[in-house]
């Protein structure tokens, strides 16, 4: 299959006045197919948000390129909906107006009524109907995050970039919104790149999970292919034979290996594009039985 979203030797260096330059990640390459759900896991500060900002076009890589449909991503746009880590909403507008603002910008030929109905649908989907007419300052942290999600969903763009979208949600709401997210991507064939800290969430949602090593000079150390058939149910996913194998593999990486893979790269970025190794942890039937007994 043709690649949809592609990173080629992405490197980001921050110049900090009076200090040494900080290279957050270097020679990051990956290839995402249309309709894939990608989760990105890594320790705090390893550069996940920075990668996402580059993919959204809001930030620029120091070297290397990101391509969407074989076109270089050089500016933000409607084809790439973003849910920011700080769910930036416009504080002078109500939740509904915030969503409508995006919808009206995308569908300029729509009537007011069309825009409103479309926006309300997505707000309802994120169970925000009762809070629709309140301003962000009058919403809880989780509600704000859901408004940000509703706004991104309502844009129905090809690529959805989510930066820890469920961070401020309690377990219950989180589950409900995760289900919505699964629904939405089943319906719309959106490609999703999502940053998360929650391993279970990643296994539930993702086709592939990018594991990032610690910075500086971070990179995608490994890509875990989640070999669990979809649709997956939160209640039954742990019964799959590959579930624990995948989970253990990721946790082992985060605890033991994410800092050791860091190698001081050669001076100067560049070189051939090397895709990160892909693994697909497999569990045996016996291990599942063992786990069940335990």
């Amino acid at each position: 299959m043709k690649s949809f979203l592609r990173g080629e030797l992405l490197t980001k260096t921050f110049k900090i006045p009076g200090k040494e330059d900080l290279t957050v990640f270097q020679d990051l390459s990956f290839d995402i197919k249309k309709g894939e759900f990608i989760c990105c896991i890594g320790h705090s500060g390893c550069g996940k948000s920075t990668v996402l900002n580059i993919l959204s076009g809001l930030d620029k890589a120091t070297s290397g390129v990101a391509l969407l449909n074989d076109k270089v991503i050089d500016k933000p746009g409607l084809s790439k909906a973003v849910v920011f880590q700080n769910h930036s909403l416009l504080p002078w507008m109500t939740a509904l107006k915030n969503v409508e603002f995006g919808v009206a910008a995308k569908h300029r030929d729509w009537s007011k009524k069309q825009v409103r109905e479309h926006s309300e649908n997505y707000l309802k989907m994120c169970s925000l109907e009762p809070a629709m007419h309140r301003k962000p300052s009058q919403l809880s942290g989780g509600m704000r995050q859901r408004v940000g999600l509703a706004r991104a969903f309502a844009l129905e763009s090809e690529l959805l970039l989510l930066d820890e979208p469920f961070g401020a949600l309690d377990a219950l709401t989180r589950g409900a919104i995760q289900d919505e997210l699964v629904n939405i991507c089943n319906q719309t064939e959106q490609t999703i790149f999502m940053i998360t800290h929650d391993v279970d969430e990643a296994i539930l949602l993702a086709d592939r999970i990018f594991l990032m090593s610690n910075g500086p000079y971070a990179t995608i150390a490994e890509i875990v292919k989640v070999d669990i058939p979809k649709p997956r149910e939160r209640a039954s996913i742990f019964k799959d034979k590959n579930y624990y194998a995948t989970r253990n593999h990721i946790i082992d990486f985060l605890v033991n290996r994410c800092s050791e893979v860091r190698e001081k790269p050669k001076a100067g970025a560049g070189g051939p594009i090397v895709m990160p190794p892909e693994v697909s942890p497999q569990g045996s039937e016996e291990s599942l039985e063992l786990a069940e007994q335990a």
Partner: protein, 335 residues
């Protein structure tokens, strides 16, 4: 939040301060009430003054009001009765000044007390729009002219300062190029522009409007530029991801984000404009509250002058509250 109870307490305290102030003012400006200096006229002289119209009792009453023998002699010579005199409005109507009246007249040249100011104010408020010639117009008319000048000058300043502030805020290069000039022009007293304006425009009306314009422009310009330059990057990012045009970005994101700062600038400006118009009108003359204050001072009508000063304060407060309302309407809670 202040509770209702606190507000009530504050109101009562305010009232107390007012009463104390008025009391102090009253006591300081109080004069011994002037007794009418009765003139004693001997019986032999009274008979000299009585005529067919004027009885002896009338003569005693008039002399009791302070008329001297010579004055009474004149009155009796005119052949008028006491009724005639009272009907005409007293002896003053005939051009006589009595000792008592003369004393009262001197009282108005001293600093007026609250009672007198109140009486004078009431007279003015009863008919604020009377027009009895160039130097005698009601306070309402004066205010109308001052407000008109401030209104025009201020509106022009808004029309210049807000768009220019936007440009300065959006383009750092222009900001850096213009800032030195703004920094130099800003601290110049608006009144210093008055002679320049008078010379160039040669029309006092336009000159005063120009002075208002020049003093209102800076706070708005600087506030707008600062507000626009410091709009949160996140808000701009939202506009960018939605592919808004530059113009949409300016009107849908930057303008609402900066509105509270812009209106705060306007609030500062209108306050300064109202301060400056009074001074400008004192210099230019003609009409307006500033000139009115000056004119009353020249006429030594201190009570009217004090009244006008209070009116200036009240109108300034109203102007401020109006824009404060706008600031509140457009302000939002940052997240």
């Amino acid at each position: 939040m202040t509770t209702l109870n606190d507000k009530l307490k504050a109101a009562l305290l305010s009232l107390l301060f007012l009463v104390l102030f008025l009391g102090f003012w009253f006591i300081v400006t109080k004069r011994p009430t002037v007794e009418t200096k009765a003139v004693v006229i001997e019986a032999s002289q009274v008979s000299e003054l009585t005529t067919e119209a004027l009885t002896a009792a009338d003569v005693t009453e008039l002399s009791g009001k302070g008329l001297t023998f010579d004055q009474l002699k004149q009155i009796s010579g005119m052949g008028v009765s006491l009724e005639d005199i009272n009907a005409a409005g007293g002896v003053e109507a005939f051009g006589f000044t009595t000792g008592g009246v003369a004393e009262e007249a001197t009282e108005t040249t001293g600093f007026p007390g609250p009672v007198l100011v109140w009486k004078e104010s009431w007279e003015m408020l009863k008919d604020p729009f009377y027009d009895k010639g160039t130097n005698d117009k009601g306070i309402g008319i004066q205010l109308k002219y001052s407000l008109m000048r401030v209104g025009i000058g201020f509106t022009l300043a808004v029309l210049v300062a807000v768009p220019l502030g936007f440009v300065i805020g959006m383009f750092p290069l222009i900001s850096m190029a213009l800032m030195p000039y703004i920094q130099i022009l800003k601290p110049i007293s608006p009144l210093a522009w008055l002679p320049v304006a008078l010379y160039v425009i040669k029309d006092s009306e336009s000159a005063s409007i120009f002075v208002i314009f020049i003093c209102s422009v800076w706070p708005m310009l600087i506030n707008t530029a600062f507000g626009v330059a410091s709009v949160k990057k996140d808000y701009l990012n939202i506009g960018n991801t939605l592919e808004l045009s530059k113009l949409e970005q300016a009107f849908r994101i930057i303008l609402p984000a900066t509105a509270p700062t812009i209106f705060t600038g306007m609030r500062i400006s209108i306050g300064i404009a109202w301060l400056v118009i009074v001074a400008a009108e004192m210099v230019i003359g003609g009409i307006g509250v500033g000139y009115y204050v000056w004119n009353e001072w020249n006429g030594l009508n201190l009570a009217a002058m004090l009244f006008a000063i209070v009116v200036i304060g009240v109108v300034g407060l109203i102007l401020d509250l109006m824009i404060a309302g706008l600031v509140k309407k457009f302000s939002y809670v940052e997240l």
